[in-house]
């Protein structure tokens, strides 16, 4: 039955990507070449601590590459999406499309 396939897909959904704040972070990073901590904080609307925590999760999953640097003696945390992160978000898009088509379509 089509609904079964949709349910199976839900079970396979990557929970690292599925979290709304992390999905927003990944989407912004997929749209740009690289961005810093302040940019993500402004766009995603998270507090400093929350963003830091979500970035650590994404970093541990290998989805983002985090580089610390100093620009004019000011610290800058530069973040970019890795190939694994790009694949993860594309896979997630496909899975969500399947779920919506199979269960709600």
């Amino acid at each position: 039955m089509p609904a079964d396939k949709g349910l199976e897909t839900i079970a396979d959904i990557n929970r690292v990507v599925h979290s709304p704040p992390r999905l927003m972070i990944l989407a912004y990073l997929a749209a740009v070449d690289s961005a810093d901590f302040i940019f993500l904080m402004n766009q995603v609307g998270l507090t400093r601590g929350n963003l830091s925590s979500h970035l650590t999760t994404l970093d541990e999953a290998g989805y983002v590459d985090i580089q610390k640097e100093f620009v004019d003696k000011v610290p800058r945390t530069l973040i970019r999406l890795t190939d694994a992160g790009r694949n993860a978000i594309q896979t997630y898009r496909g899975q969500m499309r399947t779920v919506i088509d199979e269960l709600l379509g």
């Binding site: 740009v32 690289s34 302040i38 904080m41």
Partner: protein, 205 residues
Amino acid sequence: MSTTKEFDTLKRKVYLAYHQDGILDLVAGSVVLGFGTFMLTDNIAFLMAGWFVMMMYVFLKNRITVPRFGYVRIDSEKKALMKSWISVGIGVLVLLLFFLLPIFLRREPTSPEMEAWIRRYHMVPLSTMLFGLPALGAAIFLGLKRFYLYALLAAGLPLLGAMLNIETYIPIVTTGAVIIAYGAFLLANFLKKYPLNTEGEDASG
């Protein structure tokens, strides 16, 4: 790393928000106002002051925009800028060919009527070339719609001024002042929306 097409809408949103700080308007307006003031006073310092502000663009972006909005690199931005400058160059050449070269290449002396016409309307192609085309390039290739209005002002006000027979510097000064005023309005909104933000020590590692 190239971005996928699916995220173009988000990229566009980020790009437009990054240029919503009014700094490009302020520097562009300063160049126009500097030129207009130079025409009024014959003092080249005003012309140079306008260009000096233009050269401060990257410095102002780094000092005002990046600490508030954050640093973001968009890979298509440089390509858009390159296209913009190429189109401006082509536009200037086309205008030169169609408006100015025929005048300079005339062998017979220019008639008094022609001279009067040139004196009256010379600012129209000049302002269009110097300010209208770069503004049009920014509007088309950077996607900044307000620059269509600036392009229209740069070409239209000198034409209106010539038709009304008013001093040639007045439309240029007015164009510069309008661009600066709108840039200041955008900057004020930007500063309000994005207060100063530094990373501190607890940024992610």
